[in-house]
Every structure is written in structure tokens, then in C-alpha cells.
Amino acid sequence: MKEEFEPKILAFCCHYCAYSSVDLAGSMRLQYPPNVRIIRTPCTGRLETEYFLKALENGADGVLVAGCLEGGCHFIEGNIWAKRRVEYIREMLTEIGFDKERLRMVNVSAAMAKPLADIITDMVETVRKLGPNPLGQNSTSKKQETAL
């Protein structure tokens, strides 16, 4: 029997909003697919442009960047910077011939547990439809997974 593809989504979650939201989602016993691997960041503005490319290059099926609502960034405008960087890489992904829908940025507050759970579900379903990362998984990501 053919095994169903389970996407691996890397989610960069801002400490001040999205990370609190996923935490709240847990407290509220909300369900979202277990396909996301969450990395807490002090602010999405901390994320360098190359992180998104490296994640996809190393085998992530999708990358979700979750920052604060616009105007609500703890560091004033880190989420705006992140939005521009994500957009830059999305354009570059199109140049490469890679589906840009594998990289997405969303804005949530610390209280938006249910919307974030829905966003994660939607992202997982989008990537599931796109199929596995066409680059496959290289040795680096396998090694990292073993270490975990």
C-alpha cells in the first residue's frame, strides 16, 4: 500500500505572538496537524533572508513564518522587515522554478490560537497537495533528524 505523504513544515514563530498562540492552542486542546516543527524566534525580523532558502534547500516541504499583527510588533517593525524578506525569497523561488506557495508569512496575535491552528492546517493541506519537496531530503537534514 502506498504510504500517504506527510509534509514537514518548518514554522518560525515569533516569541511574542505566534509562539504564545501555539502554546495557547495546546492549553485550549485545539487540534492542528503534527507536521510542523516549530522554531521560536525573538522576532520575525531576526530571520535572515537566507534562512528560508536554506530550510527548503535542506528538505523542508514548506516554511511558515508567523509574526505579530502589523503594527503590533514588539520591536516596532520586525514583522514588516520579515514580510519583505519573505516576499523577496518567494520571488526568487519562482526564478528557481520552485513553488513559492511552500513559503508563507502570516500575522497573528498571542491570543489567536484558533486562527493559527487553522492557518497551520491550511498550510499543511496546501503543501500536501503540492507534494514532497522536489529536491528531496539531503544528508544534512537526515543527520539532523537522527540527532533529534
Binding site: 532558502l53 536554506k54 527548503l56 534547500e57 526568487m92 526564478e95 522536489p134 529536491l135
Partner: protein, 222 residues
């Protein structure tokens, strides 16, 4: 500084596709400051090329390196070993850097990963503008420090053209009229009388006509 911007990934792929290994070489000077060819851009473009080549089914082995300055032999030497290990070099330096690398490493193909655009400055974050045309015979002293050759769309030495609206250029309404700027500046520094002078046709022999230009300083030669 020299301002450049990266080429599109498909264009670079087309240039380097016949190679099995490639050194992506950044430059730590002008192109680092204009965010086109520094260490970070080397990392981004290398990732993009690795992904594009794997998608195309031709995995190019890519090595990344950034040296302080590609247009200076002293620094170029730092790249010698890495260049030796690879079939070709994709230089993220300006046009001068690419040519300096190609001259130094005669048996290696050296390709340009950037389009060198102009000599300019960082106007504000993320915006660079041209300020100097490197004409070889600077006239800035006559025009209050604003270059009519680079910044006037018609390159008028005896302006204004009369077509500007308010302070906007009629050719490019998104930019300020250089002659309005020259007038304002000369007024501010009390040199408006300079505008009464009719400037004769510029001697372009000092510019690109007649091939590349060379400056020799005997006092510095060894």
C-alpha cells in the same frame, strides 16, 4: 561606491550549467555595501543555484567564498586555492572585479553574477542612486556640487531646459530636476552668479571615447 544588482537565477544557470563545480566568489567592498555581492548574497545565490541545478537534474557542486576585494591582487591571492579546486568562478564582484579575477586566473572561466550599474550612493535604506558618470573631467565645482551630466536627464551643461514642472524633471517625473537643485544650491551658498556663465561644449576625450583609461602616477611607481 560602485552599485550593482544580481542577475536573475535562470540567466546565471544558463551561464554556468556546463560546469560540475563552481566557486561563487563574493567581494567585501562596494558590492557588499550595496547588498549585491557580499558574504550574505554569496550564501543566498549559492543556495538558489544549488536548488535550481538539482531541479534541472544537474547537480553543480558549489563552494562559497568572499574575499575583501576582488579588484586588488593582494586580496585575490586569498581565493587562489578555492579557484584551483573548482571548474569555474561566478564572481559577485563589479565588472572590475570580474576582469581582475579573469586576468589573474587565465585558465579558469570567470563569469559575472552581477550587473554592474553605476557609481552612486545609498540614498536611503534599500535605495541607491547614481551620482557620478566618471567622465574624467569633473565639473561639480561649477554647479554647486550637483552633477548635471549624471543627474539631468538631458545632460545639459547650460540648463535648465525649461520643461520641468515645479521641481520635477519632465523626462522622469519621479525625479527632481537637477537644474532646480543646482539653482537652489548655488543660491544657498551665494554663488548664483555662476549661472550667468555659458559653459562651452564639454571635452569628452577624458571619458570612455578611445578605449579604456589609464592613470599613471610616476611618484608611486616602483
Amino acid at each position: 561606491m560602485i552599485v550593482a544588482q544580481r542577475k536573475q537565477i535562470p540567466e546565471i544557470m544558463d551561464i554556468v550549467k556546463q560546469h560540475k563545480s563552481l566557486l561563487v566568489l563574493g567581494c567585501g567592498t562596494c558590492v557588499t555595501v550595496c547588498l549585491a555581492g557580499g558574504e550574505r548574497e554569496v550564501s543566498i545565490i549559492s543556495s538558489a543555484l544549488r536548488m535550481a541545478s538539482r531541479l534541472a537534474g544537474s547537480e553543480i557542486k558549489i563552494e562559497e567564498l568572499t574575499i575583501e576585494r576582488q579588484c586588488d591582487n593582494v586580496f585575490i591571492e586569498q581565493a587562489a586555492e578555492a579557484i584551483e579546486r573548482n571548474e569555474a568562478v561566478l564572481s559577485l564582484g563589479c565588472g572590475a572585479g570580474v576582469q581582475a579575477m579573469a586576468e589573474r586566473f587565465g585558465n579558469k572561466p570567470v563569469y559575472a553574477g552581477l550587473d554592474t550599474a553605476f557609481i552612486g550612493i545609498l540614498e536611503e535604506r534599500g535605495i541607491w542612486t547614481e551620482k557620478c558618470g566618471a567622465c574624467g573631467s569633473c565639473v561639480l565645482g561649477d554647479y554647486g556640487g550637483i552633477c548635471p551630466i549624471t543627474r539631468c536627464a538631458k545632460r545639459l551643461l547650460n540648463g535648465p531646459c525649461g520643461g520641468s514642472r515645479e521641481d520635477r524633471c519632465e523626462v522622469r517625473p519621479d525625479s527632481q530636476c537637477a537644474w532646480q537643485l543646482i539653482y537652489n544650491r548655488l543660491k544657498d551658498i551665494g554663488q548664483l552668479d555662476k549661472l550667468k556663465k555659458i559653459t562651452s561644449a564639454k571635452n569628452w576625450n577624458t571619458a570612455l571615447d578611445g578605449g579604456y583609461r589609464v592613470i599613471v602616477r610616476e611618484d608611486h611607481r616602483v
